[in-house]
Every structure is written in structure tokens, then in C-alpha cells.
């Protein structure tokens, strides 16, 4: 199978273990995002795949060829990978065109030039071909770096936090352009990021890394957002409202309402995480009409499209507990007013607190081991 295979890779810097038996598979034509906090070993994974770091344990396979295992190390220049650095690493002494044709040194010069110009055209930088990198803005440098990495037609493209150097306004635009270029080239792409929004936008699949490179969950963006199988994954997308409860009759009761808990046994202690957009607010003066709990509004902040509302639960048991709610901007409750808070079960996730039990039936996963690739000879 074409693409990048990482099989059972462990890596340590001195005593500091950064990867522990990490495995992943990136098929050709897909954009896969490795999303994780700093220290999750995602950059180390990239460097190992690129060959910039010598593999300590495990195996790395590119297009069915073993490029690194315990005994062998194919140097980066023979791996057929493209790599884009966080700081772009454009060569300051070469102009844009020479930067892009840097990796095309095996070809005839005019052919290399044509290919480089083609790439520059694709990223919309053809008219800057004669400029030097220091004359370019951050966004332009990013485009040139992308063109340079793609010019030699790598089998796998590795992107290390490719948008972190750009300011917010520019980021969205560049992100969209980059994705279009990547999709057009059909290269297997691994992108490392710590920004969940970026991963959601770019990825065909997202792999969430916990500590030491363990993959907590892998799936399409929709799955990651609506079906987090791990508390850590659920919390990635921002503040959560947390409740503790116990499973009774296959259900979990929290002040906002009742949620079905299919796979958990009765009596199992659980935590319930509710996304801010999973709390529904109704300005009915706190009159209990069906499900929901009376709450007092403590603050509201208009963010533009959304309105962030903080409310305090008024019930007896959870006296004083504050909730963080995201609602449509049209809903702007008055301060100190008593209203009703309900629950949208799509945004509520249950995780077992029973230490011996499984967390909602999901344990930390490593991807299934791929079929053992044929060792190249």
C-alpha cells in the first residue's frame, strides 16, 4: 500500500521518553493531521519519518520500502519525502526560483526551471521568482516553502506546524490555498499541529496524540468532535462543563437532563462532559417546563457570531456551580435573570470514572498493525 507506515516506534532523548510504541498509517492522497499538545512527540515523529533523527526502535516504511529500522537508516536525501518547516527554512542566499528548483538538481536545467515555475504558479508566487526570501512576507514565504517541498514530487509530504508563523487573518486564507494545492498533488500528507481548528479544517483524518505518542483516537473530523472516545479528546476543543454522576438503569442523570449510557453497567461512577454549545438556554423565567434546570445569568460576552453566557445553577444539590454556554448571538439574556438550562445529548459525553473499568468502553488505541510490509532488498 502506498503511503507512510510508522510501526511500533519508540524514541527517547536520554531518559526522556517521547514516543512509546507509536504506530500510524498515512495512505497516499490523504491529509492526516497529528494533533496533540507539546511534548506528545508529534514533531519527533515527523523528524523520524524524514530521517533527520535516527530511529531507535520500530520501523518506518514509505511506499512499501523500509526506510528505517533498528539496523538501517536511509538518509533523508534518499527517502523521497518533502518537508516543510515551521520557520520555512528558505535558503537566504538563493532567490525564490532557485529555492524551488533546489530539489530538482538531477534534471536538465531548463526542465527544472519549468517545473519550479509551474509550482510557483500553483501557489501564486510566479511573479516573485527573482526575489530573495527576505523580501517576502510571512505568507509568501510559506507559499514558496510549500512549492519547494512539492517540486520534487515527494511520496510523502510532512508539514510541521505550517501555519503557526502567520497572523490570524492570513491564516485562514493560506490554509485554504494550501489544502487546494495538496489535494491537487495527491501526495500523502502528514501535518503536525496543536491547533484543533486547523486540524478540523485541513484533515481527512485526525489522529489525536496523547503523551509518548500514544494515539488516543483516530478518525474523521466529525467523529472526533461528536464522538470523542477519550476525555482528553473531548477537552481538546475548549472549555467543557463537567458533572459527576452514577449510571442508573442505563441512564445518567445530571441537573440539565438525562442521557442514555448504553455500554456502562449500573452503579458505575461516571463523569459527564458537556460542550458549551450543548447547553440550551430558554428565557422562561425559570419555570420548570419539562427537562432542564433553573439558572441565573452571571455574565455574557458577545464574540460576534456567538454569545458566551455564564450561568449559575440554582438547584439545591449543585448550588453555585457555574456553567459555560455558547449560544447564537441573537440570544442575549439579561444579567441576573433566572432562566432555564437544558441539554442537547449530541454534545454530552460520558466517561467512566471506575479506575478498573473501561472509559465508556473505549481504551487508548493504537491503530491495528498494518500487514508486515515486504522488506526491500
Amino acid at each position: 500500500m502506498k503511503g507512510l507506515h510508522v510501526v511500533g516506534v519508540s524514541h527517547a532523548y536520554g531518559d526522556n521518553r517521547v514516543l512509546d510504541n507509536a504506530s500510524l498509517m498515512i495512505p497516499a492522497g490523504e491529509v492526516v493531521c497529528l494533533l496533540g499538545p507539546s511534548g506528545s512527540g508529534k514533531t519527533t515523529l515527523l523528524r523520524l519519518a524524514a530521517g533527520l533523527e535516527r530511529l531507535q526502535k520500530g520501523r518506518i516504511v514509505i511506499d512499501e520500502k523500509v526506510v528505517a529500522d533498528e539496523d538501517h537508516h536511509v538518509p533523508p536525501e534518499h527517502r523521497g519525502i518533502g518537508l516543510m518547516f515551521q520557520d520555512y527554512a528558505l535558503f537566504p542566499h538563493l532567490n525564490v526560483l532557485d529555492n524551488v528548483s533546489f530539489g530538482l538538481f538531477g534534471q536538465a536545467q531548463n526542465q527544472a526551471r519549468r517545473r519550479a515555475m509551474d509550482m510557483l504558479d500553483q501557489v501564486g508566487m510566479a511573479h516573485h521568482a527573482e526575489n530573495h526570501p527576505h523580501m517576502l512576507s510571512g505568507g509568501q514565504q510559506q507559499r514558496v516553502a510549500l512549492a519547494r517541498a512539492l517540486a520534487p514530487e515527494p511520496k510523502v509530504l510532512l508539514l510541521d506546524e505550517p501555519f503557526s508563523g502567520l497572523d490570524t487573518n492570513l491564516r485562514g486564507e493560506i490554509r485554504e490555498e494550501t489544502l487546494a494545492v495538496l489535494k491537487a498533488s495527491g501526495v500523502a500528507t502528514v501535518m503536525v499541529t496543536h491547533d484543533p481548528e486547523e486540524a478540523m479544517f485541513m484533515a481527512d483524518r485526525i489522529k489525536i496524540l496523547g503523551h509518548n505518542g500514544t494515539i488516543l483516537q483516530s478518525g474523521r473530523p466529525h467523529e472526533i468532535y461528536y464522538h470523542p472516545r477519550h476525555e482528553f479528546v473531548a477537552k481538546l476543543f475548549g472549555m467543557m462543563n463537567r458533572f459527576e454522576s452514577v449510571v442508573e438503569n442505563g441512564h445518567v442523570e445530571i441537573p440539565l437532563g438525562r442521557i442514555a449510557a448504553k455500554s456502562l453497567d449500573d452503579g458505575c461512577p461516571v463523569e459527564v462532559l458537556v460542550r458549551p454549545e450543548g447547553v440550551t438556554l430558554k428565557s422562561d423565567g425559570g419555570e420548570r417546563s419539562g427537562a432542564g434546570a433553573p439558572v441565573d445569568v452571571t455574565s455574557t460576552h458577545l464574540l460576534g457570531h456567538d454569545n458566551i453566557v455564564r450561568v449559575r445553577l440554582g438547584g439545591d444539590e449543585d448550588n453555585g456551580k457555574e456553567l459555560y454556554v455558547r449560544v447564537h448571538h441573537a440570544f442575549e439574556p439579561e444579567l441576573s435573570k433566572r432562566i432555564t438550562a437544558g441539554l442537547d445529548p449530541d454534545y454530552a459525553f460520558i466517561f467512566s470514572l471506575d479506575e478498573n473499568g473501561e472509559e465508556s468502553g473505549q481504551k487508548t488505541l493504537n491503530e491495528a498493525q498494518p500487514t508486515r510490509p515486504k522488506a526491500a532488498e
Binding site: L52, P75, E77, Q86, D87, A89, F91, A149, P154, E377
Partner: protein, 557 residues
């Protein structure tokens, strides 16, 4: 399917670095080996006769030069970096000029001027009507005091350079805080600026003292019995290798103390900056007599360290034009230039090789070996010369024995007493210069450049050629130039290692000037100083650029 596992390329760097480091370390290690081997009677003989004299003279020389360079170097650095007075911008670079003069050259010049038959004493006698030496007192130039003065005059720029950089780096905020807290400029200097600059000053003084230990020409001419002179005496006059090596080993002890002091100071230097705000120094506008005193204070070292000697030599060159432009001089100059250029090129190539090797193979053994390469610079030329002779002699004998045993003929001494031996000696001593500057400028290139080039299909050699070398070209050339100039000035090693009857400008000047024929040697001496001005120009350029407020425009990042 072919798979390219290129172990071999990677190992070229490791193995190469270790081999080069071993070659560079060989002279030093052989000196230590001989020094530590219980030898013949010479040691106890030395210990009971001349050794105490060597030790006390060397210590006095070091203390004298240390205090002298400290006062002149720190004083002038403080004046030009924080005060405003007439000529400050000129003094900023002019104070470096004495660096161009080797101590032995100004020693010859001042002896010529100040001795009994010289113009100064002659003028005094004429003025006051003195008849003989007994009628008046005049300091003897060919003495320990004279040697201290000569060396102080040409070595204070080391302290000046580092102290000035330290004063400029000090956040003005710290000084302003001190002023606001009620301390005047003088008390601020002694209680804030000076302590903050102390590590840099220690480094500067250690460098100056290393040069002091290295000096041979001055102490030889003045007959000041230092260790270095002792080594030559025991080696050349008593013909005793072991004794010379043992003295050299003991001298190494002094060096180790200096190196440790320098390293310690460098380590402390890192913790010193509490704020990163660096503003241009406002500069105390000096008033009245302080202005003139400052100008005079900065002018005197330049005058006595460079202008006066250069003028005297220039005058002699004109008067003795025919003798000075003897065809031999040009042959010796060509020798000097060829030898220095050869060394500079090799030193640069090796420096790049090792520095890049360290970058490629971030391994302990490579790093340790690379440090070893830098050791030679601290070791006095006399010690290295002994080490080179001993180790090359052993190598020659080894090859000779091997060839005789295997092929039945003798190769004799292949390397000893050849240009190759001199070049090797220069390399051992000056490799640190090229390695250091190449390493420093490589460090400024972010490692992602390497990663980018490698992932774009370039191997380590091609990456070096297409990315690193174009980026470090400027400082690499500077490094080669520094090595070149140091080799032009080099005396102590050349004297011992040169082939019979082979002269460089330095040995020629040494020989003629020692024979009180300064006129004949004047042009050659001027030539050495002329080449010595080159690094001063580069350094002053760097100084102008490092001046705070000097915009760093158009610099590719």
C-alpha cells in the same frame, strides 16, 4: 529495488574528526608524556639551578602585563564606550592598532631609541651636558620592566576589545537604575558596570597572558629568563630534549590555570543579562580638563603602541633603503606569504570539516575531539614546537624503521626540519581560530536549513557546498585571514621548526634586529605590521556595526 544506506558518508566525519584531533593533540600529549616520565638527572639539576628563576620571572612578567593591560584596556574601553570627548570615534578603532605590532618588533624599536647610544639619551646628554652613564639615571629598557611595558603596549587591545563589547552589551537600564538610585557616574562604574563586565575582562586578560607566555622574541632580546626562554636555552644550547619538554610541561601548568580562568569566566558570563533592553549609550559629555585628559589617555597607547614604532621603522626603511630592500627580504617575504597562505587554506578546510562534522554527528566523541582541536591556541609556541619535533621525530623514526625492516632502505627523517613540520606546527596552534569562527557562524544557520536541503535530496557534502558554504563565506574568509596574519607574525615555533637556512620575515627580523641591525630589518618589520593591520580593519568594521543604534538593515536572516 536499490536501497542506499549510506553509513560510510556519515562515518567520514566522525573518523576524520577523531584523526585530525589526534594529530593536533599529538604534540601536546608528547610533551606531557615526556614531562611526566621520570627522566635523567636534568630535572633535579634544573630544579636546583634555574627553575626558581624561571618561575619567579614568568610570574612577575605575567603580573606586570596583567595589571598593565587591565588598566589600559579597561580604562580606554570605558572612556570610548560611555563618555564623549574629542576623537572618541577615531579612538574606537585606533586603540586596536597596536595589535598589529608583534611585541618583539616594538622591543627592537624601543631598544634602538632608548638605549645609551640611542637618540633619547643622546638628546638628554646634550641638553644637560652629562658626559657618562654615571652622571644620570635612565631606566634600562632591556629588563623585566621593559618586557612588561612592551607586551602591555601591544597586548592591551585584547582587554580593550572584550571590555568594550561588555560595556556596550550592558543594558543601559541597569546603569540608569544605578544613577536613579543615587550613585554618581564614577560610583556606578565601580559598583555596577565593572562587576558586570568582569567575566569579559577576565577573558581578555587571560588571552593577553597566553600571548605573554607565547612570546619568545622580546624575552630573548631582553634576556629575561622566562620559561619560554628556558625551554630554548635547554633545547638549543644544552641540547637536551627531555629537559626542554619537562620545562614545557611545567609551563603548561600556567596555561591550564589561564584556560580554566577563561572558561570559568565564560560560564559566568551567560547569566549576566537581566534585561534585554539595549539602548544606545547616551554618553557622559565630559567637560573641561576631563575632556583633554580622556583624549590624551586614549592617544598615548596608540602613539606608543603603534604610531611611534611604525614611524621609526618607516624612517629607517627610508634611510637604509638599499640594505632594507635587499633581494633576500623579498625571498623571505615570499616564504612567509606562501607558508601562511598554505596554512590558512588548510586550517580553513579542516575547520569547516570539523565544525560541519560536529553539526552532522551530534555525538559526544566528535564534540570532545573538536574541543581538543581548539586546545593548541592556548599552548605557547615554544611548547608546541618541542611537541611537534618530538612527535614528528617519533613518526619519522617509525616510518624509517618500518621501511628498513620491510623494504631494506632508509627514508631518513621525512618530516622533521621541513616546511611540512612548520606548517603542521602552525596548524596545531591556529586551527582553533578557523574552527572557532566557522563553528560560530554555522551556529547562526538554523538546523531546519540542513533538514530542508536534505529532504530535497541533497547529501551532506552537497548540502555543505550549496547551503552552508555560501552562507558562511564572509566569516570563513575572515577566519582564513586571521590565521594568515598570525602565521606571518609567528616567531617562537618558526625559529625551532624551520629547515636549515630557511627564513621567514619574522625570523629574519629577529636575527637582524637581535644583532642591532634594525635598519636592515626595518622594511621586513614594517611588512609584518602591515599585514597585522588587516585584522584590525576587520575588527573595527565589526565594531562599527555592533554599535548600538546602528541599524541592521538588509541583512538576510
Amino acid at each position: 529495488m536499490t536501497r542506499k544506506f549510506s553509513w560510510s558518508w556519515f562515518n567520514v566525519w566522525s573518523v576524520g574528526t577523531v584523526l585530525i584531533a589526534a594529530a593536533v593533540a599529538a604534540p601536546i600529549l608528547s610533551v606531557l608524556y615526556i614531562a611526566l616520565t621520570p627522566g635523567d638527572q636534568i630535572w633535579s639539576h634544573l630544579a636546583s639551578t634555574v627553575l626558581p628563576l624561571y618561575i619567579s620571572t614568568t610570574l612577575q612578567l605575567m603580573i606586570g602585563v596583567g595589571i598593565g593591560t587591565l588598566i589600559i584596556g579597561v580604562g580606554t574601553a570605558w572612556l570610548v564606550s560611555t563618555c564623549r570627548f574629542p576623537g572618541r570615534l577615531i579612538f574606537e578603532w585606533a586603540l586596536l592598532l597596536p595589535m598589529a605590532m608583534p611585541a618583539y618588533v616594538i622591543a627592537y624599536v624601543y631598544t634602538d631609541i632608548l638605549e645609551y647610544a640611542g637618540p633619547v639619551q643622546g638628546l638628554l646628554r646634550d641638553l644637560f651636558g652629562w658626559q657618562t652613564k654615571r652622571d644620570y639615571w635612565f631606566p634600562e629598557i632591556r629588563s623585566l620592566g621593559g618586557a612588561i611595558s612592551m607586551m602591555t603596549l601591544v597586548l592591551y587591545p585584547y582587554v580593550y576589545l572584550l571590555a568594550r563589547a561588555a560595556f556596550l552589551e550592558q543594558s543601559v537600564c541597569v546603569l540608569e537604575a544605578s544613577r536613579v538610585l543615587g550613585r554618581g557616574p564614577w560610583r556606578s562604574f565601580f559598583s555596577v558596570a565593572l562587576p558586570l563586565a568582569r567575566p569579559a575582562i577576565v577573558i581578555g586578560v587571560s588571552l593577553a597572558l597566553m600571548e605573554t607566555l607565547n612570546d619568545f622574541g622580546t624575552v630573548d632580546f631582553f634576556a629575561v629568563s622566562t620559561f619560554t626562554l628556558g625551554i630554548y636555552d635547554v633545547w638549543l644550547n644544552m641540547n637536551n630534549v627531555a629537559g626542554a619538554a619537562q620545562l614545557a610541561g611545567l609551563l603548561m601548568f600556567f596555561v591550564v590555570v589561564l584556560v580554566l580562568a577563561e572558561r570559568f569566566a565564560r560560564r559566568k558570563q551567560r547569566f549576566h543579562h537581566t534585561t534585554s533592553k539595549i539602548k544606545a549609550m547616551p554618553g557622559y559629555e565630559l567637560k573641561g580638563w576631563a575632556r583633554h585628559l580622556s583624549t590624551i589617555g586614549c592617544a598615548l597607547p596608540v602613539l606608543f603602541g603603534f604610531i611611534l614604532p611604525a614611524a621609526v621603522l618607516g624612517g629607517y626603511a627610508v634611510i637604509h633603503f638599499e640594505a632594507a630592500t635587499d633581494t633576500q627580504v623579498f625571498r623571505f617575504a615570499a616564504n612567509s606569504v606562501l607558508l601562511s597562505a598554505l596554512t590558512a587554506v588548510i586550517a580553513l578546510a579542516i575547520g569547516i570539516f570539523i565544525a560541519y562534522g560536529v553539526r552532522l554527528r551530534n555525538e559526544r566523541i566528535v564534540k570532545v575531539m573538536a574541543r581538543f582541536v581548539s586546545l593548541g591556541y592556548a599552548v605557547p609556541g615554544s611548547v608546541l614546537a618541542v611537541g611537534v619535533l618530538v612527535s614528528l621525530g617519533a613518526l619519522d623514526n617509525g616510518i624509517d624503521g618500518f621501511m628498513r625492516d620491510t623494504f631494506g632502505f632508509s627514508t631518513g627523517l621525512l618530516f622533521s626540519g621541513t616546511i611540512a613540520a612548520v606548517t603542521f606546527g602552525y596548524l596545531v596552534r591556529f586551527l582553533a581560530l578557523s574552527f572557532g569562527s566557522v563553528e560560530a557562524s554555522l551556529a547562526k544557520i538554523t538546523p531546519s536549513m540542513d533538514g530542508a536541503a536534505r529532504s530535497l535530496g541533497h547529501g551532506p557534502f552537497r548540502t555543505l557546498r550549496r547551503v552552508h558554504i555560501p552562507l558562511i563565506r564572509g566569516s570563513a574568509l575572515t577566519a582564513a585571514m586571521l590565521v594568515f596574519v598570525e602565521c606571518m607574525k609567528e616567531l617562537p615555533m618558526t625559529v625551532i621548526l624551520r629547515p636549515f637556512n630557511f627564513h621567514t620575515l619574522a625570523t629574519y627580523v629577529h636575527q637582524y634586529a637581535s644583532d642591532e641591525q634594525l635598519g636592515e630589518a626595518s622594511l621586513a618589520a614594517l611588512g609584518i605590521a602591515g599585514f597585522g593591520v588587516l585584522p584590525v580593519i576587520v575588527l573595527s568594521y565589526a565594531i562599527t556595526r555592533s554599535r548600538p543604534g546602528y541599524a541592521e538593515k538588509g541583512q538576510p536572516s
